[in-house]
Amino acid sequence: MKSTPSPADWTPDSPELTAFALKDGPFDPSVPGWAEHRAAAEQAVALSALLRAEIGEIRRIADDVETDLTREAIHRLSADRREAVLAYARNPERGLPRRSSARSSQDGNSGWHRFWSVLTRPAMGYSLAAATALSIGLALWNAWPSEPGPSPAVAILSGGSNAPAEASLSISADRSTPTQATATATATATAADAPLIAQPREDILRGESPRAWGSPGRLTGSSTPSESPESPASVAALVAQVKRYGLAPSADSADVLSGSVTSAARPAAELAQKSQARQATPATSAIQAKTSAPRPRAQTTREIPFQSAATTPRSTFSLKPGNTSYPQIRKALQEGQLPSPDAVRLEELLNYFSYDYPAPSGSDPVSAQVEVADSPWSPDHRLVKIGLQARPAPTAGRPRANMVVLVGLSPGSSARLSWAQRSLQALIDALDGPDSLALLIDGPQGRIILPPTAAADRGSLIRGVGALRAEGAPRGLEGLRRAYALADQRHVPGGINRVVWIVDGEFSAEAGTREALELLIREQTEWGVLLSVLGLGVEGPLEPSSPPWMPPPGGSTYASAATPAEALAVLRRELQPTPTTVAENVTVDVRFNPARVDQWRLLSQESRESATAPKASPTHSGVQIDAGQSITALYEIVPTRSTDSTRPGSGSELAAPAGSSSDLLNLEVGYRSPANGRVQDSAESRPARSLQMGVADVSRSSDAATADYKFAAAVVGYGLMLRDSPFKGDLTWEKVQTLAEEGQGPDREGYRAEFLQLVRKARGLQEGSVQGFKPKE
């Protein structure tokens, strides 16, 4: 389009304005001279409110059209037609097959069958009867295809892999022989400090666990930023979106989205906002939403207080702790402020880090490890560290990976670029020969740095990573479309097909882009190409509910990485196939022995439900544990002897045989084997199993504990100091720092070193600050 009139002469009716709004034609980034053209156009548009309004309108209608057109019925070639093509490809010399009655090829069965599989991929195969598929498929199509795939949680820390430096317990699950009641504890106690670790007492083999510990609601307490009130504008935008896609009630892909809407919008307000959303031009609503979404503030949280073991002997802890607290604290400290106490959530801090736990032995899905020592802040208390480690995901036999990395970093974020490069180099190391990697740069000069290349050609991959540049913030659709196109080229059916979009905070979603993006992502997800958005240097989670981040359809993930180590962890995870569940209906039951324990307290924030005694609940398909996942919990215990030697229970220990009655506590992890894809497999049809272990009391200084123990104590102690917790005892910053230093361990990824810096920083801020933080009596 050489004869394009100068943008200064544009009127609202200029076709060039449409091209500009659509970023196509002369504004297609692949057209030479595009950048200057765009700059001139932007200048003209900046001067004219009329043009800007028009652009908003154009994008809006374009978006509607796109939305509607992409929702048209999907047809596919029938199986016999496809087979005919492939037969011809195999042997073209034979000539074209005769077309056998094209009109009859509408027999439909295979077509619908395929249609169904597209809708439900990847959860289901081709196993359903075509007739069922037809009716359900139609219904689903009308409600928009749902994506039943699991949505991987972002902050599951997997345990380290090197050999544990301490004795470890591996508790064996009961097998198929409930009659067998032998103690087969497999203690792999090798290290010198073995006595520090609780020894396995008994492995109780049981065929059936009649009890299920813990209520599902309690245990699923992940952090939900969507609970905070949304700004009206973003609610309006969300409602508009919900309305457009018909998402709200059909528990479909955008669980986050519907969560926000239901919690934020009351029916009446929703109606008003619906109309408001209809009126507002997308441009303005997007801008408002972007600027006015405040950081969610949790309500004041309390730590769980001490409980009496006599009246409340049982406890449980969350298997899905949130992941926002630590980044929030870090952000505050980096801005030179102490975090709000509400932002400090002990269990989240603790689980931000990974600890070395032994992998389960044999076919056990989970192992448990417990370490006991005196509490660093209340020496007459015990601090009990409980770690659960799920079986790691198998590395051998991983499906072939087809990775496309789209880098959209603003110029000037060279530090972030170098993180990205380091992380990508580590990713290359994790790729196998047949895997492939492609690299693209987003932004104005967007280009392909490395076409899809087999990982066997390692040199090219490394050079490609070295050639990455920070050239521009992501611009939304174009870059991503290109990335998906590259993913197409090496699509591995049934393999890991993933686009990793590395961005910094500079993403500027333009009006309408968000929805178009979402559609694109949704479509590609249906094809089995998953997206991971990795925000580099973005503090805190990318909040899917607040623009510009779009809610991920199933299987796509968001993660933010404020440090290179986090970035690396995310990339490694993305190389894994969809997390495999190793155990379902997982319940944790910690039973304190009143003879030994006077009071106990879980170092955690109070959640909405009582975090204390697990209620006996019917079997539920609640908490799952995924391969490689680990969970850590700390309990502080007031032993009976130190507080009340006249307790009736305290004397009995002498008479009791060496066994459970001398235990400090008993840990039981109940679970069921995963359903293995059998859709109708009810929880009841798979026997409940459990791991049990007794934990002996030991009194020894925390100075003698393992590095992991000290580090965990440092992390929680840090939280207590930041909260100025009433439970902090005689804890000082000095002590926290010492524990953190002694607890550094191998620290392969630099997380612990960073923590130490944050300890010093917080200490400096708190000790330097005059107001507040009076010493507790």
């Binding site: 389009m1 004869s3 394009t4 009716d13 200029s14 076709p15 060039e16 304005l17 449409t18 091209a19 659509l22 196509d24 034609g25 297609d28 692949s30 309108e57 209608i61 374009a62 509607d64 059209v65 796109e66 509607d68 057109l69 992409t70 929702r71 048209e72 019925a73 999907i74 047809h75 596919r76 070639l77 029938s78 037609r81 496809r82 093509v85 492939l86 011809y88 490809a89 195999r90 073209p92 010399e93 074209l96 077309r99 094209a102 090829s105 509408q106 009716s135 139609l138 219904a139 009308n142 409600a143 309305k243 457009r244 018909g246 709200a248 009630p249 059909s250 479309r481 196109a485 059916p493």
Partner: protein
């Protein structure tokens, strides 16, 4: 076909065709459906495209595979049209098909109405505008790609799109205005521009 093909190359060729088919048959069928009368005819068109693809070298289509596929579909539809001297029928039936499917939960009824409206409005556009709109928004082709396969100039493509969007917008807004809208919507006659 190159007679020196080894079986390995044949294997790769078959795989390439298979993957391409897997990836693109649905969008090609959608496009074909907008050009011909019925699904079997559209399937004929698309199957023929893949027969033709079997004879292509993957290298020769590198970077332009998608436009090539669309171009072949279009050319074949034109041939067919010439043979049968009929210009491809528009998408009324498709729209009706979408609309006529089984009932949906009430929550998405509003959205469905919008879809029907816009889809039926689309059928009121002239065929060339309709085609360009589909290629751009349904098949995500760029101005340049559309220009290549329709043999229109890029300026012309831009003009058609601009006009189409403007028309759709005006008609949609007219529908949207005022009470009694739903009545007017469902009774909309595709050919009533005013």
């Amino acid at each position: 076909m190159n007679p020196t093909h080894t079986s390995n190359q044949t294997q790769e060729q078959v795989e390439w065709v298979r993957v391409t088919m897997e990836r693109h048959e649905a969008e090609l069928l959608r496009y074909a459906m907008s050009l011909v009368e019925d699904l079997p005819s559209a399937e004929d068109l698309v199957q023929d495209v893949f027969f033709k693809l079997c004879k292509q070298e993957p290298e020769s289509l590198r970077g332009r595979l998608v436009p090539w596929l669309f171009t072949v579909v279009r050319n074949q539809a034109m041939d067919r049209h010439r043979r049968e001297s009929r210009w491809p029928r528009a998408a009324e039936a498709e729209a009706a098909e979408v609309a006529g499917n089984s009932p949906t939960p009430s929550a998405s009824v509003q959205t469905r109405d919008d879809v029907r409206n816009l889809m039926s409005l689309l059928t009121t556009l002239p065929p060339n505008q309709r085609e360009v709109v589909r290629l751009k928004f349904q098949n995500q082709l760029s101005y340049r790609e559309i220009s290549q396969l329709t043999r229109l100039s890029e300026t012309n493509v831009g003009f058609l799109l601009h006009t189409a969007l403007k028309t759709l917008r005006q008609r949609f807004e007219r529908l949207d205005a005022g009470p009694g809208v739903s009545q007017a919507r469902s009774n909309l006659h595709p050919s009533s521009p005013q």
